[in-house]
Symmetry: C2
Subunit: 447 residues, 2 copies
């Protein structure tokens, strides 16, 4: 960090430019996001200096292959294949980690924080795995460790959540945090494509990877759910705490049945307080079609927050892509650079409390389930009786067809998941029930 020495000629009318502090950025990784970031810094450094008095300049870029031609506005001499040297360099004040994954990202971030250099990252795995250790190291060094881009790409989410938490009590967060699965479910809903066809389309468009496992099995969303739950509830939540189900077994029939009841199917990351516990899970869910999340289409992301004071809040935007992600990274860089230039300590995360994570069997939800039943007098009463014996109350019961084709669709009031699955187990052996279909959790006003 360099502050120009004021000279006699500087003592004159106020001009923010004269007191500019230069903050030198070391960027680890130069893929889509890194490249977009370096271009953004180049394009906007002048405006940022004018507005904040901080002049940003990229002085080191760590890449795997320095011989590759990259379309970014920095000199070739700025590139190095020695990532550790970027962190250590005397020419780097602030480290931007855009490598992804935990190794070597974690050790590089630790080295930077221990050297009192603020770190900005977009790395969800790193935060979901090692967030607490990194928050503690940042606090000990008194520097910023910011990760706005790790969830929801360009959507301002982490900072509003942190700020809201300070003056409000968050009750529940519902997020569409994976663009690939939202694209697939949107195509299935709107064009009637099957899962495989919609996945192939997403791959052709570059919305899904050749190996789509991390997206379609919900791993990506689960890492983001852990981060969101940590921030919203000030609780220690890691990836292993998140119950996870993907969308691979969602069929057109599920989507059609949901539509008939006034719902759309979305893959949701859900975090809420239930009693004294925090419950965190990722699974497909039925969302009422007049709920704002139902209108989040294609590869867009959105996070819906319910707080005591603020009421309902939704933040919507591009959850991935070089430009949006780089824009969130740059917002964090400006924040951290201002603190560094002003000699202010970084924004500490505060203590994350160790709270009980409620096991999925005890989590309360509303449930939908379709069944094929024998159509004769007394059957509905018998089925309702099974639900009642397990303490599960029925909210809505809808019968289609007659005789051998009779189908029954049910939606429950909030119930513990283990009570609902015990109900289904008993129904599977019931003489009036021919088959029990796929259950889906249902988003209601409270659960």
């Amino acid at each position: 960090m360099t502050t120009p020495n004021p000279t006699a000629s500087d003592i004159g009318p106020t001009d923010a430019r004269q007191t500019d502090t230069t903050i030198r950025l070391g960027v680890l990784g130069c893929g889509h996001v890194g490249g977009a970031l370096i271009r953004l810094v180049d394009a906007h450094a002048g405006v940022i200096a004018q507005r904040t008095g901080v002049q940003l300049v990229v002085t080191r870029v760590g890449v795997r292959d320095t011989s590759r031609d990259r379309d970014v506005p920095v000199a070739a001499s700025v590139f190095t294949d020695d990532a550790a040297s970027v962190v250590d360099s005397d020419d780097v004040d602030l480290v931007v980690e855009l490598i992804g994954g935990t190794d070597p990202a974690q050790s590089l971030v630790v080295a930077a924080l221990d050297a009192h250099k603020p770190v900005v990252t977009a790395n969800k795995e790193l935060i979901a795995h090692a967030g607490v250790e990194l928050f503690d190291r940042a606090a000990a060094s008194g520097v910023d460790f910011l990760f706005e881009a790790s969830v929801g790409g360009g959507i301002p989410l982490i900072r509003p959540l942190r700020e809201s938490v300070a003056g409000d009590r968050i009750r529940r967060v519902l997020g569409i945090v994976n663009g690939t699965t939202n694209y697939i479910l949107t195509r299935m809903s709107e064009s009637g494509a099957g899962f495989d066809e919609a996945l192939a389309e997403a791959q052709a468009l570059g919305y899904a990877e050749a190996d789509p496992t991390a997206d379609i099995e919900g791993f990506d969303a689960a890492a983001k759910a852990a981060i969101v739950a940590s921030i919203a509830f000030g609780a220690l939540v890691t990836l292993g705490d998140v119950h996870r189900e993907g969308i691979t077994d969602i069929t057109i029939d599920d989507i059609d049945a949901a539509r008939k009841l006034g719902y759309v199917v979305k893959l949701l990351a859900i975090a809420d307080e239930q009693g004294d516990d925090v419950a965190v899970r990722v699974h497909p869910a039925m969302v009422p079609d007049d709920h704002p999340l139902a209108a989040v289409r294609e590869s867009f992301n959105a996070v819906f927050i319910e707080g005591d004071a603020v009421g309902e809040l939704m933040l919507y935007g591009r959850g991935a892509g070089g430009g949006p992600t780089a824009s969130a990274v740059l917002g964090d860089i400006v924040d951290a650079a201002r603190n560094l230039a002003g000699g202010h300590p970084g924004a500490a995360m505060g203590t994350l409390a160790s709270r009980r994570i409620r096991p999925i069997g005890d989590v309360e939800s509303q449930f939908y389930v379709p069944m094929e039943v024998i159509d004769r007098p007394g059957v509905l009463a018998a089925i309702a009786g099974v639900f009642g014996r397990h303490g599960v109350s029925i909210k809505l019961m809808q019968q289609h067809g007659l005789g051998d084709e009779a189908q029954l669709n049910l939606v429950t009031h909030p119930a513990a998941e283990s009570d609902f699955t015990a109900t289904l187990d008993e129904l599977r052996g019931h003489e009036a029930v021919k088959s029990v279909g796929r259950m889906l959790r249902v988003i209601g006003d409270d659960t």
Copy 2:
């Protein structure tokens, strides 16, 4: 501001509580928002202190009538009917202005800023009228002047816009920023109520005032549009710069015609860059029904932002009400209190440039207009020719009915408003045109 002197017994294991700085709040106004704020501060001061090291306490509350019983957790001695004494008090470090309007709010805010006391306000009229003067005074005093709650109630909007602007180029902002009119239009769309009936319903529910003029004529939205445009484009925009039309002449027929074309009607605040100009206006507009703003129902607000890097972003929530507004005010208070406690200068707004405001006649939009026409060969060609002569290109033409009942619905490509109105003027005198209906601007991908 009081920082406890450390004593020998304080020198021990780190405990953030021991270094708490108390920031004393003087609150002007104790209505819905003021009362909710005082309750929020009381409920959350402990958590805020734990997370930020700043202890908030309300030491003065200025009200018109000190004899009125108010359900807030402060001693009766805290109330005074002398607002100026709240600002001047040695027991007040930070002033929260919740009176509304410009007089006496403006002079009180000026006095506070000149006394180097940060100010937090929810007052949209004040910012839209006198924002620049107040920004300058705050910068000169080196203290925060924050107004997150002035637009969109509890929705985090001003801060994300300011932060996005620093690292991105905003192209357009579209906002549903008035809950009353959105409620009325939602009821008209969904229950088929007429304007008067929907307004009466809004009044019965407390969503509209007895005198609803400020809402239904678009004055409230125009003040917010001026604020949003100022922040998004770093430009000097005041209320007088905003072209304004309300919703009083919107009929069920307009809404039905829009629906048939795949649109919903919303009152929008729109700010965009057109050439080197900034264009700012409030008027009813047709929004495509798969646009996220179309799903913003009832009294909710939302602001949709289009930026070069971030792409599309929408921030949605409760635009009014004590709780949501107080929650945004408290977020600002925490920010300003931390800066004050840390001895850091307030966040300066940066310079607002004086940019040309494009007159409404030159503003480019897409337009919809219905017409009754004579149904005979050649009429469509003749009408299309009139549009063509004025340089207005037709995007969509839809004919309903035959003979004397023939109705023609048209949507144009982007065109300057004066060219479109000149087209309509010529069509009104055209022998094949029986009548020209109400035009509505149409939200497209770019205009």
